[in-house]
Symmetry: C2
């Protein structure tokens, strides 16, 4: 039996566009002899549809679109397993289910409803769906095919120390030969290996083969990397593209040699993921060009490099905005970067006249005070407003360049350098920014050496260095990982790291919560990014509040 | 039997502070002869604790604090039903439960786990908790007392057309005399009546009495109004304070005359709710003073009035920031308002020098373009930056003054008038802003008549009126209600309202999604506010996208 994994990049909510892609890929698969085609999870809607699901008209349109696809396929000898939303048949409980439709001969032959609904991190499936109550095993060419959706196969007691769900949907499937899984599993660094290990264990345990179809494409903060696989006997026999659309057709009767591990290293994965994040954000919002502030520092340099890879440098605009506190090298480094990348245009605008305007306006009110944070922030906000003005004038999307370390401790100005529609490297700690920047430079120098080597500085006052206010980034990032990702308390972290620094960092994290609530969406590449997967109260005694 | 409802204002995460309040109130109740005391839901933690729950150290501290409270009460003849978090005893599923501990004689006598976990709108309980599997009925003074938590009693098939949960926890309780409910039910206009109707129906159906304890106080966007009640035979026999702490002690053996309906009308409820929202946001973030921009318009006027009620006018600062496009009356009206309210200080700063600074900076880049949105936004952002500068300098919290109508259609400038930590009237449509402002003026004129009577204008260009860009607010707001709250599609809405206007409004809603993602938290007073309860994708074909 030939099977096809339809790995395509859906636009969330675009039922017509996604439906057309699904039909075309299915038809193509059929022409190549496939008799089974499998989409990713909720493929007709695009994942995650979020509150679009609360609109009954949208759900009804999806129902009609699925019927239309079924009709159009009716003369083709191929079964399509289609991920979509549907109504439950019960009179109680949530009205919707996350479904896989078995479409054959022009009709919906069977319906499977996802049984495990992820509701953690960025996932809110219990907000929308009623869990399915029973397994579905269909038969094709004498093979028993068990149908599952994403999370359904991620609760294996042997694989997880503490299963998150009481039920393991694999436990009551009965005998089956092929396990099909429709997924929308977001990318994080190293996740493909985890998926393949888990599927390998599953095929070894059950003796069945596994066909895993995953979504590709980025939707707001979530990046999906595709890489559908065919796994049998603990080995990966075929693997779809990473970060690209693919139609993977496999012949179950003719298993090839097993494949080696996926070749992408962590830097390359991150690079591909973030550039897909930028290009899809632009494409799906109908924008062609982006702008960003170039400070001569490493964050804006890396962001510009990613944007250039994503959109082509001809669609990336830079703005260099020196103040009286800017060093000469910052302008020089920014212009060198722009030249190395070949950006469309990099303009230079001094913010001095704007700062003078603010000085004049505030002279009377501020007359008895010393310059401090208020004045520093005026610089950052003047730059933010300038970038937004150029964005508004020419229709470039503004990218924000903050990294995870500074978003964590609030070493950034709200409505200033936090301005922008998308935080490209907001899930990379500063040490990881350096690592990725060096990787970018691995063959030729794109990011100026001086940018990589000078001590980081916000340049908001003369001779300022980040390290005047913050611990060294190696120390900071290690503490942040404990507090944010390991979910240790400041006290617990202080047993591993310097207590004084730890308590200072925790206090800074707590104080920055109100800023993060208004931050741009962050492209997520780790298990814990800021944004929709980080839901902290602002008005509270926080876990980061240090006991006095 | 005398019973006490402990209606207090917890600070989220403040286990020591909340624990002390709970102990003190229980002791006070005991001194007054109560033998049963009931807290609100998760009272020890404050609701909603959100991702604080993901920190094991926090959950462990809560466990120890509950034991400490039990110890301290051990010689007192009173049973405390305490809302808190606890570990489940299963080896599978989520590790936590939303619990009610039955504390008596220094020990935890029984544990009830909430069975229905709200996961919609602002609620994310399935993110954290495993649902309880069984009912709990305890006995005190020969009375059978059934214990429930909030949502558990909101799934009555007779009361809701389509119950949201398959299970009704009231159905397997067996016989009981008293139903106790620990709640954290957020305020919305008119909700108390719904609660009381539901409890009345419940007591009539079961023949039991009901004791309903609800949280009071505001935490970020959520406002809790308290109003615990004792209900029997379909009648409300006692009712706690609205929007204030209370210790309501009732003697079940001596039912008094039934109470009439709650006396607060919708405007008074809204007024009290929003002022509690402001005062608690400040108190719980250790801030005393606020600042806001006064434009002479009705939004900033109403926000200033609410802030003055919340914090005292001596803690409210105004900033009037005219531009060359500002009319004389706007400054005059703003200053009159400030005087009427008795604000601490209202400074006047012209933004002309700042606009000149931006003009100078952008002259070359903008030389061939006509003034438009970019220039209008520069004005709004200059004001936003000025407000933030004064906020940074003097430590005043910046309030943002946008209303729900403008946040809906994006008639507001991101990083401009959207600046601020809290959106006070962001859940009021413009027509409701007018209604509430007139109510504020019911006895004497606080908000200048001219502010109420002049046509709304953003004054970003000469003689601009809101109605140049937007339909009349009565029309706009009616359409918004259909699209946002009734969850009708633009097509469905166009059957009720003018299609051309409807499609324009829908297009504006869609285009403003990226702004809303970065908006300040909005004090929620309706069933559908923007903020944590509004989870729309940005990069998508939206339900608001109009078919071409």
């Amino acid at each position: 039996m030939k099977c096809a994994l339809l790995q395509f990049n859906p636009k969330v909510g675009d039922l017509a566009g996604n439906g057309a892609k699904i039909f075309n890929l299915t038809q193509k698969a059929w022409k190549k002899g496939a008799t089974l085609a499998v989409t990713s999870e909720l493929a007709l809607l695009g994942y995650p549809p979020r509150d679009l699901l609360l609109y009954p008209s949208f759900v009804e349109e999806a129902r009609l679109k699925a019927l239309e696809i079924a009709q159009k396929l009716k003369d083709k000898d191929i079964t399509l397993i289609l991920g979509t939303v549907g109504q439950t048949e019960l009179g109680r409980g949530r009205a919707l289910a996350n479904q896989a439709l078995v479409i054959a001969s022009g009709a919906i032959e069977a319906v499977y409803a996802k049984r495990l609904l992820p509701t953690y991190d960025v996932f809110d499936e219990a907000r929308y769906f009623e869990p399915g109550q029973k397994p579905l095993v269909i038969e094709r060419s004498g093979q028993k095919i068990a149908i599952t959706i994403c999370e359904d196969i991620w609760n294996d007691e042997a694989f997880w120390p503490r299963p998150l769900y009481a039920l393991d949907p694999l436990s009551d499937l009965g005998p089956f030969d092929i396990l099909v899984n429709l997924s929308a599993s977001p990318f994080s660094v190293g996740k493909q290996q985890l998926r393949e290990n888990m599927l390998a264990a599953l095929t070894q345990k059950t003796g069945a083969q596994a066909l895993y179809a995953n979504q590709v494409g980025a939707n707001d903060e979530l990046i999906f990397d595709g890489r559908g696989v065919w796994v049998a006997g603990g080995q990966v026999l075929a693997r779809g593209q990473a970060f690209a659309e693919d139609l993977l057709i496999v012949d179950l009767a003719n298993p090839p040699e097993p494949l080696p591990q996926d070749a992408l290293g962590p830097e390359e994965e991150t690079w591909e993921a973030l550039s897909l994040g930028v290009s899809d954000y632009c494409a799906k919002n109908n924008l062609k060009t982006v702008i960003l502030g170039l400070s001569g520092g490493i964050d804006s340099a890396l962001t510009a490099a990613i944007a250039s890879k994503a959109l082509g440098p001809e669609n990336v605009y830079g703005l260099v905005m020196p103040s009286p506190h800017s060093s000469d090298h910052s302008v020089y480094d920014a212009l060198a970067l722009s030249k190395n990348l070949g950006l469309a245009q990099t303009s230079q605008i001094s913010i001095t006249p704007i700062m003078m305007g603010f000085d004049a306006a505030l002279k009377r009110l501020f007359q008895n005070s010393k310059p401090g944070v208020a004045e520093e922030n005026i610089q950052a906000r003047s730059r933010g407003s300038l970038l937004m003005a150029v964005s508004n004038k020419f229709g470039h999307l503004l990218l924000t360049t903050g990294n995870k370390s500074e978003i964590s401790v609030g070493y950034c100005t709200i409505y200033g350098d936090m301005c922008g529609a998308l935080a490209v490297i907001g899930d990379l700690y500063k040490t990881e920014v350096f690592r990725l920047a060096r990787w970018v430079n691995r063959e030729k120098i794109v990011i100026p050496e001086n940018t990589l080597n000078k001590p980081p500085s916000a340049e908001l006052r003369p001779d300022q260095k980040d390290q005047d206010s913050l611990p060294p980034y190696e120390v900071l990032d290690a503490i942040l990982k404990c507090l944010l990702e390991e979910r240790l308390s400041p006290k617990e972290t202080a047993k591993i790291h310097d207590p004084k620094i730890t308590f200072k960092v925790a206090t800074l994290i707590r104080a920055a919560e109100f800023k993060r609530r208004q931050a741009a969406p962050v492209l997520k590449i780790t298990g814990q990014a800021f944004g929709v997967g980080w839901r902290m109260p602002i008005s509270c005694r926080s876990v980061f509040t240090v006991n006095k």
